[in-house]
Assembly symmetry: C2
């Protein structure tokens, strides 16, 4: 059963994500170390005790649909209301709306735990958080007054309605439409698919944010507007009024996250769903992009959360299950399988990858917080850092979530394939995260085409130099293995720098097809090199503070293991990026012929 | 929908698995090219038309258990009897028992197609084929007379009963027991788990092969005997008699292969299941090992089959689905996603990995056939080749099956996560293959500890030299890209040779823990290097024959793509093997503390 790694999370916040700087920015006195520990500890308790026990039940029960109504799994309502009452929904929201004005970094840390406990549970509030952010940035005062406090308290939940059957990665193709009414409201029509928590029984009202086109809208992405469409209209006094013309037509039968209802939503089937414009007409996509960084990071955190849970699950099994005799085993009878070198390799790989995922997510959260709290040139610089790290923090941890969960299944042997064990559920749940909120392929394209050129490539070069400084510091330490580790991570950073140069050059030369063909291996290379450097940073801090608990020694081992066993792939990825596309791009005609 | 790649399979048989040599060994005249084409063509038709349409239905329906009886999915019985009537079950069995005495290589080629059509369907006959082999090699004439013809015709099916709750990878721990009866039969008692097709309604009788201990058996693996335990006893005249004391207590709820009943079997609950000894007392494990090469290869073929099916499924979707505009797209509206470079990379990776899986499986089958048909030193040499390639042919294609199926899900985007699309089923089905019939970790240990030392390492060195000869030939060709491809594959073979040297040295020095810690990366390195060389062999043959169809051009592209984009990982794997274990093995104490 899941136990929240509160002290490891705390360490990572302080020493890899440089929490002190954030605390200062948020008004240091109020954000004491004690408060942070209390928050993490209580979140960990709630996640482990109140949410985690529901995860398997939810997987079995699903979210049955009946005549437009969706029932959440047993225990879900109670857990959600306890969670909302605990104030977890409003962690980062402004105090003016009942929030706690805390850094995103703490929200990310708590979401890691909610996701480890149950990805299906955590995803609902994740979307509400995104909607809150969009409304704060773009909604009229009236809309804010009517909706924000109830969304911040968790009394109502919200959804994001983007996808249509013909418009997935390409939102320019969307067809839902909105007509202007005389009273300033809009009538919304259309069908949306893959709407997470589009319908459910957790809250009395559901606030849908919907992308649609006005009749006179330009074609493509510049003709999309954002509307707020509540399930129930809200009376002047804040009570619920009429049922709006939005209905859940079905829920999907999915590979995983069975506890999360994925809905087809139909707007305007009975004359038009009443909606209110958010932001300006035709600028809906820009409103969405406001919260894109956070939403993508939030999906990365799903990968991290599931990876941690799968690791704990596999480690417990490997320490319990006995088969054969490991070399050097002197105990009675069979040894636990965790003593076998090959199983140890799998466990260490899971541990190292999970730590990389955590480091990237928290580091990205730090940049978002600093961008939020700083001004002028500093703000621009942090915003660029957040922009650079976002595709990495989305794609790398979600790929890791799948890889770690799959290794977890493997460690369980035949038992891993049996659903009651729970190992397979982690794999099924994790598999969506590389897909939604922009597929990881799209993250790679975003990284290459939009993020590398930031500040004339100054942003990415600055980041690589920061990582190199960490490695240079490690190279001078006398601790066992640090110099070797620094050497290997340094080589990976050389590979990253070379591949980055090539990517920038290719785009400057207009060789877009080549650049795009190398995007995914480039992102992987970036994640390995940056992840390795961040693990070194953690190892350095551990050595500086002093190795006290086994967890401290392990943290250093994990960094060394990653450098000695996993990071070396950057050498081949570099050449895949720079040389590999030729053999890919010449082949398409033949490939298309099937 | 699946379409059998009959001509690609035929090419691979002839030019990578060197089918002519097999045909000679089996009596060349009878095994004409026409006959082989007819066999492949008809198998492809049956797989695509009769089996594939049932695969998704079976996934939904599963194999419900009711009071000891198991119902197979709708259409399963008809498909199975049509399949058995087609003679597909007895392809390699001796003519004396109604078989067709054909090479294993053709069986493997047809099983690729059955597995592409439905892994759940194909796995039943796979186990029957293993049982037939064990009985031919070890059973008494009486048992052969009673059972073999019916198993070869497919009128009855068979199972393999090894695993018990406490005895999975370590069969020495098994506890099922058998008492000697006065009439020469045995009474078998015990519980077996994970028994594939342990109970079903496809055939009137089911023949269980069961590992159990005699009362005076030595402890461990040297005290295990093999028994034949029929579901129904067989009368003298061959008709079915009494129901035996063996019952299916439950079926598992699994991640995938829902059409294949995975049973808990209880023997002797009502006084003892009547069994007959196969082979000698206490030598049961040796009997099992007789067919281990074939069974492991058969599981590798499952990985290959699912990979091919997932690739076809994803390619069809990518050619149909339109989103965005790919660079250079000049068609109307959105381009098919198969035009986007990142999707093309995924498709090419799927294609290349599937080809590697096919090459390894067919090459291994060739060695098994040659060992079967040759004598003396030649037989020993081919048997060692089969032994060397078996862990590779099991582990590499099954890892590839999971990787390719997962890429297939990714290409489908959100639709890949919805069960009705079918992409997710390939992933769920494929995920068992790296686990059973010896986990891939155990394959790696087998490769390192038992196969590398064969003939004082002469076998592995000879194989690497053969691969190098292929690459050397390619290096001298003037065809576009061949020299470059040869250079990259040659480097991978250098990595393989160096890692092999280190592995042999480590074991000679008694550094077993280090050798075992590097086993899995070593196997992956071996698979990449050998796979790359075999793709080069295919490319050479294609160039020699002449590029006519698009499939010929594609085959060369795939080999170049693999060399230019995927094989380079051997460079880092080599150092993971030779240097990586230090940071792993020093860490265990901390890791165990969790």
């Amino acid at each position: 059963m899941y136990s929240a790694p509160v002290s490891e999370i705390g360490f990572m916040l302080r020493h890899v994500a440089e929490f002190d700087r954030i605390a200062d920015a948020f008004g240091g006195d109020e954000l004491s170390e004690d408060l942070v520990e209390a928050i993490l500890g209580e979140a960990g308790r709630f996640a482990a005790e109140e949410i985690a026990p529901l995860n398997k039940i939810a997987d079995r029960f699903g979210t049955p649909w009946d005549n437009g109504e969706v029932t959440t799994p047993p225990g879900w309502r109670e857990a959600y209301s306890g969670w909302a009452e605990g104030g977890w929904n409003g962690l980062t929201a402004p105090a003016a709306y009942g929030g706690q004005d805390l850094p995103t970094m703490l929200q990310v840390a708590t979401y890691e735990m909610w996701n480890s406990a149950s990805m299906s549970f955590a995803i609902g509030p994740t979307l509400t958080a995104g909607a809150i952010e969009a409304l704060i940035a773009h909604a009229s005062d009236d809309l804010k007054k009517t909706y924000l406090a109830k969304l911040v308290s968790g009394e109502w939940m919200a959804t994001m309605n983007l996808t249509e059957p013909q418009a997935g990665s390409d939102l320019g193709a969307l067809r839902s439409r909105a007509d202007r009414n005389e009273d300033g409201t809009y009538s919304v029509f259309g069908q949306k698919i893959f709407i997470t928590y589009g319908e459910h029984d957790l809250t009395d009202n559901i606030v849908h944010l919907v992308l649609a086109r006005l009749p006179d809208a330009p074609a493509g992405t510049r003709g999309i507007s954002l509307f707020l469409v509540p399930k129930f209209l809200v009376n002047e006094d804040g009570t619920l009024g009429e049922r709006n013309d939005v209905h859940c037509a079905s829920v999907e039968h999915k590979l995983g996250i069975h506890g999360s209802p994925t809905c087809t939503m139909v707007y305007g089937d009975k004359g038009g769903a009443k909606g209110w414009l958010v932001g300006e007409e035709h600028k809906g996509l820009a409103c969405m992009f406001t919260m894109m960084n956070n939403a993508r990071l939030a999906v990365g955190v799903q990968g991290l959360g599931v990876a941690e849970a799968a690791l704990q699950h596999a480690l417990a099994y490997a320490n319990e299950r006995r088969q054969g005799k490991a070399p050097g085993w002197s105990g009675e009878g069979m040894s636990p399988i965790s003593a076998h070198p090959d199983i140890r390799r799998n466990l260490m790989t899971m541990r190292a990858l999970t730590s990389v995922a955590r480091a990237l997510c928290y580091r990205c959260a730090a940049a978002i917080d600093m961008a939020h709290k700083s001004e002028g040139a500093e703000k621009k610089s942090w915003a660029e850092r957040a922009a650079l790290l976002t595709p990495l923090a989305k794609a790398v941890p979600t790929d890791i979530g799948v890889e770690v969960a799959s290794l977890g299944v493997q460690i369980h042997g035949g038992m891993g394939y049996i659903e009651e064990t729970g190992a397979a559920q982690f794999l099924r749940d994790a598999r969506i995260a590389p897909i939604y909120e922009g597929t990881n392929g799209i993250q790679a394209i975003d990284l290459v085409t939009r993020k590398l050129p930031l500040s004339g490539s100054g942003e990415v070069r600055g980041f690589i130099e920061e990582m190199r400084a960490i490695v240079n510091e490690a190279a001078t330490q006398n601790h066992d293995g640090f110099a070797e580790m620094a050497g290997k991570v340094g080589t990976a950073l050389d590979d990253l720098a070379a591949a980055t140069d090539w990517m920038l050059e290719a785009q400057k030369d207009g060789r877009m097809e080549e650049a795009l063909a190398g995007a995914t291996p480039f992102l992987r290379l970036f994640g390995l090199a940056a992840g390795g450097a961040l693990l070194v940073q953690g190892a350095l801090a551990t050595a500086r503070i002093g190795v006290e608990a086994p967890a401290d020694a392990l943290r250093i081992h994990v960094a060394r293991y990653f450098a000695g066993n996993l990071i070396g792939e950057t050498a081949s990825l570099r050449f895949t990026v720079t040389d590999g596309s030729a053999s890919l791009l010449t082949a398409d005609a033949a490939l298309m012929a099937g």
